[in-house]
């Protein structure tokens, strides 16, 4: 079984179910991307993995342990790092303080982790004393990822990390995400920029109406004319 496996997820926000039995999984060192049309339940699936959603059925397994009953905070303690799509930094806190807040759950010294994050995102080291609200969109996303990495998670969940950033910055972010995965983390992300994300993905999950439609490696999905036409911007 994969390191992180969310299977048969069913549920929603109290109204009609948004997820209808989808299954998503990813191993350490791999990148999985959830793509699909608007309203397919991509972000909702990720929220379910994090425990921000009441499931009517299905379960979430992390490293062989059933964490379905855990609230989001406990899942973060168990090794999940989460980068929300918006409002993912503390704007009046400095870059450094944002990273410190990311490590709030840790009781040990955080110096080594800080060094790793500054090595991965050198811009954060330069701007460490600036309020996060003054960063550009791309820098802010890097800070948000850095903040999530402060707990030294084994799984990184990214909700549309490239939303609203320029194409250059997008490529840079994807490059960093590849490097993060290479360090042995399981990376799961939801992406609107499906084509770009599938380039770096080991696995792509195409969701339609809260259920799995296609699953394959990123290359397979990119090569498949059906998927391309339906979900990747129609440039078949």
């Amino acid at each position: 079984m994969s390191f992180l496996r969310a299977e048969n997820l069913t549920g929603g926000y109290g109204g009609p179910p948004i997820l209808n039995g989808c299954t998503i999984e990813v191993d350490r060192g791999r990148i999985a991307v959830i793509v699909g049309p608007n309203g397919a339940g991509k972000s909702t699936a990720m929220k379910a993995v994090l425990g921000m959603l009441r499931l009517t059925s299905g379960r979430v397994m992390l490293d062989g342990r059933d964490i379905t009953a855990l609230p989001p905070q406990a899942r973060i303690r168990a090794g999940m790092g989460f980068v929300p799509q918006t409002e993912n930094v503390f704007p009046t806190l400095t870059v450094f303080e944002n990273l410190q807040m990311g490590a709030l759950l840790r009781k040990d010294a955080i110096g080594d982790t800080l060094d790793e994050i500054f090595a991965l995102f050198p811009i954060l080291a330069d701007k460490r004393h600036q309020p996060a609200g003054q960063l550009s969109g791309g820098q802010r996303q890097q800070l948000a990822v850095g903040r999530a990495l402060m707990t030294r998670p084994s799984v990184l969940l990214l909700d549309e990390p490239t939303a609203g950033v320029s194409p250059n910055v997008m490529d840079e972010l994807f490059d960093k995400i590849t490097r993060i995965a290479a360090q042995g983390l399981a990376v799961l992300m939801v992406e609107q920029n499906a084509a770009g994300a599938l380039e770096i993905a080991d696995t792509g999950f195409v969701l339609v109406q809260g259920a799995n439609r296609f699953t394959g490696t990123g290359r397979e999905l990119l090569a498949d004319p059906d998927t391309r036409r339906s979900f990747l911007g129609g440039r078949a």
């Binding site: 905070q73 303690r77 929300p84 930094v89 503390f90 009046t92 410190q100 807040m101 309020p131 003054q134």
Partner: protein
């Protein structure tokens, strides 16, 4: 030369020292307003009554201490009473939160609902204060009242104008600076303070990061209680305790917090000084100062007082209206950043 010195001494004694003291008192109050707004996200109409209740408790404790023969010598005994009143007021605030505000936080009520609830709290506290200590004014300053007396200064300097420095003014300015330094250090340098600012900044992300919301709320009320007792007692030592006067502090405190930008502690301090000095300068009779400082031919005939002192609240109100029209986020507010 003597004229200029006389003029400066007159201004220092009658405008600058009282302004700094009043500004410090407002700042301690406005910091409470801005903390509640920043962390708990509502405007507490009960804030002035909190100052009043804190002062009333201090007075009762001080009377009890004095009855037991406790005294601080040249310093007012209320400084000791104040330390005991702080935890009591914190308990009152936390109790109020448990009984009322917590419920509305749980159902995710809008800020306006909280505001109305706080208006109810204001009325209740107002009644409790009347029951506990009555509505009469009280003077509770003991110890040495002046550091520099009018006669002492005149004899020493030979100037016609006296410089007066009251113990309460000196205490106010000193304790306010100390309290603010501690507060800013706490907010910026400690883990709990950082968590508090993070919670104010982005509640959801703070919760995900592992911040305990109940602890932050309790901590906020404790800080607000300490600041309220300080503000109320220092104001009372300076000008006497009158429940009705304390009620009227709500407007200048809010004006100060809004001028600085609600939610910004630095803004609250700067805003308080702006409000305090505007209020005093516009209701100050400038005749004497101008007579000293201007060439003889230009000395004014009238009082040179722009507004009668009864209109001092109009000044706060005017400042509030102007800021809301021109720069609603205030000097250090979020939108201005």
């Amino acid at each position: 030369m003597t004229d200029i010195l006389n003029g400066l001494v007159h201004l220092t004694s009658m405008l600058i020292l009282p302004g700094l003291a009043y500004g410090s008192q407002l700042a301690l109050g406005a910091l409470g307003v801005t903390l509640i707004f920043g962390v708990l996200r509502f405007s507490s109409f009960a804030h002035a009554e909190g100052l009043s209740l804190g002062t009333a408790l201090t007075i009762l404790i001080t009377l009890w201490l004095q009855g037991m023969g406790v005294s601080l010598g040249v310093l007012p005994t209320a400084l000791l009473g104040m330390l005991l009143a702080m935890p009591l007021l914190a308990l009152v605030f936390i109790g109020t939160d448990r009984a009322l505000y917590r419920h509305f936080r749980r159902i995710n009520a809008r800020p306006e609902v909280f505001m109305i609830v706080s208006a109810g709290v204001m009325l209740i506290m107002n009644g409790v204060i009347r029951l506990v200590i009555g509505t009469d004014g009280r003077d509770f300053e003991d110890g040495e009242r002046f550091i520099v007396t009018a006669r002492g200064f005149r004899d020493w300097s030979g100037l016609a104008e006296p410089l007066v420095l009251k113990t309460s003014q000196m205490l106010t300015i000193g304790l306010a600076v100390l309290a603010m330094a501690c507060l800013f250090r706490f907010l910026n340098r400690t883990r709990a303070g950082r968590s508090m600012r993070a919670y104010a900044d982005n509640r959801n992300l703070a919760l995900l990061s592992g911040v305990d919301p109940d602890r932050i709320v309790r901590l906020t009320w404790v800080l607000v209680a300490v600041l309220s007792v300080l503000a109320g007692v220092l104001f009372g030592l300076d000008k006497g305790y009158r429940p009705f006067v304390y009620q009227q502090l709500l407007l200048p405190m809010f004006a100060a917090a809004v001028v600085g930008g609600l939610g910004s502690p630095v803004g609250a301090v700067v805003g308080s000084m702006i409000v305090a000095f505007s209020e005093l300068a516009l209701t100050f009779a400038w005749k004497k100062a101008l007579t000293y400082l201007l060439p003889a031919g230009l000395a004014p005939d009238g009082m040179m007082q722009l507004l009668s002192t009864e209109y001092k609240f109009a000044v706060s109100f005017l400042i509030l209206v102007i800021v809301l029209l021109v720069r609603p986020a205030g000097l250090y507010g979020k939108a201005a950043r």
